[in-house]
Amino acid sequence: MTSAEERTRAAMDAITGLVENVAPLTLPPPAPPAMPARLRGRVPSPRRRWGSWLAPVTAAVAVVAIAIALVVVRDVPSGRPTPVASQVLPPTGIPQYYLTFDQPPGDTTKPVGLVLRATLTGKTLFTLQPPRGLSFAGITGAADDRTFVADAHRDPYGVEGSAGRSRTWYLVRVTSTGSGPALTMTKLRISATPVGTMINDIALSPDAAMLAVVSEHLTTKPREQQQLRVYSVATGAVLHTWLSPADKVPPFVGGGGDGGDPNAALAWIGDRSLAFNQGTFAASGVPTLTVLELELSRPDGAILASSRTVAILPPAGETGKPSPYGCRWFWGDVMVTGDGTSYVCGGNGTSSATLPKLYCLKHPTWNVVAFAGFSLTTGKMTRILSGYRTGCAGYNVLGYPVWVNATGSTVIGYMIFGSRNSGMFGVFTHGSFRPLPYPVPGSSYQYMAGSLLNQVAW
């Protein structure tokens, strides 16, 4: 095999990461039965195609549009459009927008608003003020990078330390205006959470039709069980309720509010299942992280009885010296992909001979890995998304994902060189890296566990 051949094959393979889905085929009405010529492989002229089929296609589109409109109006008592999200990402393969708060978590001087920013440039595109008297405290996004749910609470202001206050819920959507994108806000019919309820996690389904909320009631001992509720975004109705085990100390799913309500402990697998991960200690004292899947069709009630373990993750490798790659022991560092086939893990450790290639390196002397993908079916590592050659940064490299695409081939995350107190934030895919502006203001390389995740929604 020649060098040119190897390089060509690798470059062509890299295209795969850029094109991961195609628009569905929309066929016009059947062709007339009698055609004069046999199939010869000619592509019909687009002008003729549209010229002859424009009328029936237009009619069909009109019928479909009316049907959709009827469904929309029926589903939402107020007559407002139901949230419908497209799962098609821009050609860049990463979301175009993200949502964050308009002030650092510790700022309690004014109500917290929401900011829409461009992922590639970090430019602020729109600022949405909270409803009068309220302050935003949590955000979660659908799959289309322009549909979000945010929750808000009453004074005192500030995102941090907002646990226990009553929450009201809002649908936030990106709309186009003549001067660029804007945000609109619609109050949802989801009941406000009672005072004293701490939000452990929020997750909007990919199609924005359902909102999963994990919460616990803050009481004195003994602490109460956590509740996982799934709400209809359109009607506010509670569709499902599960409870954490009575003998486990909360939080069973997710954590407490640290710089915003947590939004990464739950992941939707398509629109019919939820995945969550748990950290436990084995008898030997070794930390173990387990991924569980909860299908919405399973009975309400005990969450463990309705869930199944889909993966037990390898523990993170030791830092500072060669060790097998493993995932960090924290709920936000493992992200199950939307297609339900794999998870991407932020962790650390060195690679081994079983890893065939690390694209970002010029020489095959690499061995420090930050992001890796694992199959949920086999538990084996299937992808390396980032890494560094020994000597570039020592062995102490950590990866923190904040967004992963549906197949696990692209991750937005933060790779930190622990020994240097510096890092790289951006898009990691097949070993290549594209830097992005750090998504929130403040000290970009002082990552506090979970705090960045809670402050951004892609």
Partner: protein, 184 residues
Amino acid sequence: MDSVETQTPRPARPPAAVPAEAGVTALYEANALGLVRLAVIMLGDRQAAEDVVQDAFFGLYRNWSRLDDPGKALAYVRSSVLNGCRAAVRGQTRRDRRDRAAATDARSSIESAEALVLLSEEHREVLLAVRRLPERQREALVLRFYFGLSEEETARAMRISRGTVKSSLSRALAALGRMLTEES
């Protein structure tokens, strides 16, 4: 590597046994992603690539009832995609030029700044070099190396002889080797 799905296209079902819409849709779902990726490599433009592939499946749909050999359905679409890519590359019509310009304006081209940065510099250089190859060499290279077709299948898709496939491939690799050496 998740390109495997594109390298093992699902065999087409007999067209006569299924209605045109179901048959073409099934074939599209099984093969469109791989064909779009192929067209992206050929054209360097995501939007144009999707247009070419959609056009190819439209062509198959319109001619479904006269497809006498079910095994030809995928080969037909593949050839149509190649034809479409040739037409787009040559810019034969005003419409093609306008669409490409629009695609560039909309920053949907794979050559746009956002998309290119997702490829490493090494891969960008190689793909740009591939696109500078003569048409036949480029097609042979993509069909063999990316789509994983045999020489025989490549010959059928390109409607040339196996010998021509081999020589085109050999010349393509030699030219690529020269271009990449010069650039580095």
